[in-house]
């Protein structure tokens, strides 16, 4: 029985961690703007500094 008790308290503890994470996310304003991040990811990283070029780099695999 004590095993069950530990498991229940552990699951509740994990759930509380997620709740804390949610509260932190709301408080830090992560839910305020939900449309811009979806656009932001579309922009590639800019070309390396010093290369004044507006041509897209060849689609070579880069690590």
């Amino acid at each position: 029985m004590s095993v069950l008790l530990i498991l229940i308290l552990a699951s509740l503890g994990v759930a509380l961690l997620f709740l804390a994470g949610f509260i932190w996310a709301v408080r830090s304003g992560q839910f305020e703007d939900t449309s811009t991040p979806s656009l932001r990811v579309l922009a590639d990283d800019p070309p390396p500094a010093g290369v004044a070029s507006n041509t897209r780099p060849p689609n070579a695999k880069s690590s």
Partner: protein, 821 residues
């Protein structure tokens, strides 16, 4: 880049097909070439160079022609007023003397590339720190080093790359600090968390697992559930306690009273059962109820980030104007304008206060203020009203009245602007709720009395608690939010934006429809110009088209659009282009001289013109090489399908037309509106408001459809105000509904849909009442157990939610409102 050498120079006919590399507009007036790229003007080329130099060339890879044509040379001095300490204190979000953060609205943000560029501003200027774009709000928030970069310089920098900030008078009053976090989301999150965990603790109990594990575990589950419930009741359900107390103090019955009673009864009964070890309580139902109720509230509060429903004249007026003084011409904020000041106004600027024209020839476009569709010429000494837009060369005016006391702005002092319009007490749900509450309390007290007399007092109390638990109007409180929320979402997809659910209810009760004319039934871009005269050859059409394109005057735009549709795109290059404000356009193409303008101007130039036929609206004459070729008739053109709309509306509602315009179109509108409609012309903004008041005095619910500032009073007075906008996000005065101009023909469908939505709400209320009857009979039979409660509660809530959303969606599709462009 070698390619450039081999590329043939664009010939005159090929030039038409060249679009600017930066902004994508066709290169008509000018063709600037650099590195094999074509630009429509030096401004665009300059922006392109700046971006490449700052290593921001990526901008052009993100979108095709992402740029915005810069409005012209922007200088720091133009925005110098932004550096005044009082203005700055109101504009900055934060400052510590070293670095500051400012949030500015930039309406021209339109694509991924804009977001990327504005978030990489730090590459343009070393004093700029991080910047973040909020795309939905068209806002950018920038941190910058105050000592190295002034706010005015920052704004000028943005303007120089085409992102001119939208600085209007209301910016000064906008609250700078936002709510630190969203309380409602936290409430829902907490309730959802507790709901899921209590369910987890309840399932073993319902399945009888406690027989295996013994009473110890059952007790643990009980106390854990109780511990999870307390914060939900105290924090998540806080608004229900508050509003129940409020309605008791106001001595009004609202739906929140049975909700609060039900919550309290559930909690008391469950605590008693758990502590005394008699049972497991109803805590899962209790927390689930709070969770569903909060979700319903959240769903109903659909907000449209780009739209503001409560704007007044201050968000139409600029933040500053140019003042002429002995020390020179300096920009000042409107707040500092005093009577007697001399102001300088350029082409396209707004007259900020009632004034007298001192110098220059003005053409004032009052269409947004008075509804008068034709620009009026004014000469020195004439009186100018605030809100008119000046077109033409530089003028100088003398201020006669302070900004807040001008002809137009004094409208906002009317008592209509102080009354509370949204009455949350008188909604459908609340009216139904009042009857429901009375019934529930009667049944609860009645059964308690009956059982106390026939059995024992304890039995009476427990039956009363059971009745209160079962009668908790969860499904009832969900019916309206989900119907209205769904309706609002569907309508928003069709570019019809409704301020709140209450508006839909009022829409369904509309009795009289009042319409504005200019900008509402007629549109500047809606009608096709009619050409009268000897037919033009395709080359001539192309020439006239590119001449008209070179001007920003609304009439020229209409002519260009009309001609461009019918002709192949071979715009010839213009030379010696001249725009004479208030008169017309002149240019040479090859060896031919083209003139497009007012008939009197053409006559002055010695061109013989036959007597024009009588035609309402504006007339633009065309002369090629001193020969009059004909005239374009434009203006006052009806939007498409207005006749059908008025027909559909007229069948059901009394109609009225309120126009600020002259009555020269009276006969045409009489035929459109039918013999019974009230047609009024020459109406001032205040007269419009009073007309609505007069109709309301006879007990009618009035819908006002309009567009401009002159309708602001009527919107405020009417039961529902519908503002028609040509562009979503453009300025519209405070209203309840914002409607895309293309959706004007859908007005009749909108009203039908609102009525149908109310129907759906009524049906949903009936459905939830059915559940209450079932629940009450179970409770009365003494069969109510936590398990039945745990099944019945979510079942009723979810089925009502499903019914409300799907029936509303179905109704929407049945009515098939015209799809958005």
């Amino acid at each position: 880049m070698d390619r450039v050498a081999f590329q043939p120079r664009p010939t005159e006919s090929a030039a038409a097909k060249v679009n600017c590399f930066h902004c994508g507009l066709p290169c008509v007036e000018q063709l600037v070439e650099k590195d094999g790229k074509a630009f429509c003007c030096d401004g665009c080329r300059l922006v392109h160079d700046i971006l490449l130099e700052s290593n921001l060339g990526q901008f052009y890879n993100l979108n095709e022609h992402p740029g915005i044509r810069p409005p012209g040379a922007a200088q720091g001095e133009q925005f110098a007023y932004l550096d005044e300490p009082p203005t700055q204190a109101k504009l900055l979000d934060f400052t510590d003397g070293i670095s500051s953060r400012v949030t500015i609205q930039i309406p021209s943000i339109h694509c991924v590339a804009c977001v990327w560029l504005l978030e990489n501003l730090f590459r343009l200027h070393p004093a700029i720190g991080d910047s973040r774009v909020n795309f939905a709000r068209r806002e950018v928030s920038i941190r910058f080093a105050t000592q190295k970069l002034k706010l005015s310089e920052l704004v000028a920098l943005l303007a120089s790359i085409g992102y001119t900030p939208h600085l209007t008078l209301d910016e000064l009053d906008r609250p700078r600090t936002r709510k630190p976090f969203d309380r409602q989301k936290l409430q829902i999150g907490l309730a959802g968390f507790a709901f899921a965990n209590i369910m987890l603790f309840s399932i073993p109990v319902y399945l009888g697992l406690d027989a295996l594990s013994g009473p110890m575990l059952q007790k643990l589950f009980g106390y854990l559930s109780l511990a999870l419930t307390v914060p939900v009741l105290l924090y998540s359900a806080a608004d229900y306690w508050k509003s129940a107390r409020w309605s008791l103090q106001q001595r009004t019955l609202t739906l929140d009273i049975p909700i609060a009673l039900g919550l309290a009864a559930l909690f008391a009964q469950s605590t008693y059962e758990i502590v005394s070890g008699q049972g497991e309580g109803y805590l899962d139902s209790l927390v689930g109820l709070v969770f569903f109720l909060l979700c319903g509230r959240w769903f109903q509060q659909k907000t449209h980030d780009r739209l503001t429903f409560d704007r007044d004249y201050r968000s139409f007026f600029p933040l500053a104007v140019l003042r002429r003084s002995t020390a020179g011409d300096t920009p000042v904020t409107l707040a500092h304008i005093q009577v007697g000041d001399r102001l300088l106004l350029r082409h396209g600027e707004l007259i900020p206060a009632d004034a007298r024209l001192v110098q220059g020839k003005a053409q004032i476009d009052y269409s947004f203020v008075t509804g008068e569709s034709k620009p009026v010429p004014r000469s020195p000494g004439d009186h100018l009203y605030a809100g008119g837009r000046h077109t033409g060369g530089l003028i100088e005016v003398e201020v006669l009245k302070p900004v807040s006391q001008s002809y137009l702005t004094s409208l906002w002092d009317h008592s209509a602007f102080r009354k509370q319009r949204d009455d949350p007490i008188n909604t459908l749900t609340q009216r139904y709720g009042r009857r429901f509450t009375r019934l529930v309390i009667t049944i609860a007290l009645g059964s308690a009395l009956y059982w106390s007399l026939t059995s024992s007092l304890g039995r009476g109390v427990s039956v009363m608690v059971a009745v209160l638990i079962v009668a908790c109007p969860c499904a009832l409180a969900l019916a309206a939010p989900f119907s209205f929320g769904t309706a609002q979402r569907w309508l928003a997809r069709r570019n019809i934006f409704v301020k709140s659910a209450l508006v839909l209810e009022r829409l369904a009760r509309v009795h009289t429809v009042v319409l504005d004319k200019t900008g509402t039934l007629t549109g500047s871009a809606a009608g096709k110009p009619l050409f009268e005269g000897s037919p033009l050859t395709p080359e001539e059409r192309a020439m006239v088209s590119s001449l008209a394109q070179a001007s920003t005057h609304p009439l020229s735009r209409q002519i260009h659009t009309e001609l461009a549709e019918a002709t192949p795109p071979l715009a010839p290059t213009l030379s010696h282009f001249k725009e004479i404000p208030g008169s017309g356009l002149e240019a040479t193409v090859g060896s031919r001289v083209l003139r497009l303008g007012s008939l009197s101007w053409l006559r002055q130039l010695g061109i013989a013109i036959p007597d024009p036929s009588a035609h309402p609206g504006s007339t633009v004459g065309l002369a090629i090489d001193q020969t009059f070729r004909g005239a374009f008739h434009l203006g006052n053109t009806l939007r498409p399908a207005v006749a059908q709309l008025l027909d559909a509306l007229g069948n059901r509602y009394p109609l009225a037309l309120l126009s600020g315009d002259q009555s020269h179109d009276h006969d045409a509108f009489r035929t459109l509106f039918g013999p019974k409609a009230d047609l009024r012309f020459n109406q001032s903004p205040l007269q419009k408001l009073e007309y609505i008041q007069h109709r309301q005095a006879t007990g009618q619910t009035v819908l006002m459809v309009g567009d401009g500032l002159n309708d602001a009073g009527a919107f405020q007075q009417s039961d529902v105000g519908v503002a028609v906008v040509e562009r979503i996000g453009a300025f519209s005065p405070a209203s309840d509904v914002i409607l895309d101009a293309a959706q004007v023909p859908a007005l009749a469908d909108l009203l039908r849909f609102a009525r149908r939505t109310i129907w759906v709400v009524r049906l949903s209320l009936g459905l939830s009442a059915l559940y209450n009857v079932v629940g009450l009979s179970i409770a009365a039979a003494g069969l109510l157990s936590p398990l039945i409660c745990a099944i019945l509660m979510p079942l009723s809530s979810i089925s009502v939610v499903l019914f409300a959303t799907s029936a509303t969606s179905l109704a929407f599709q049945r009515f098939g409102l015209t799809p958005a462009r």
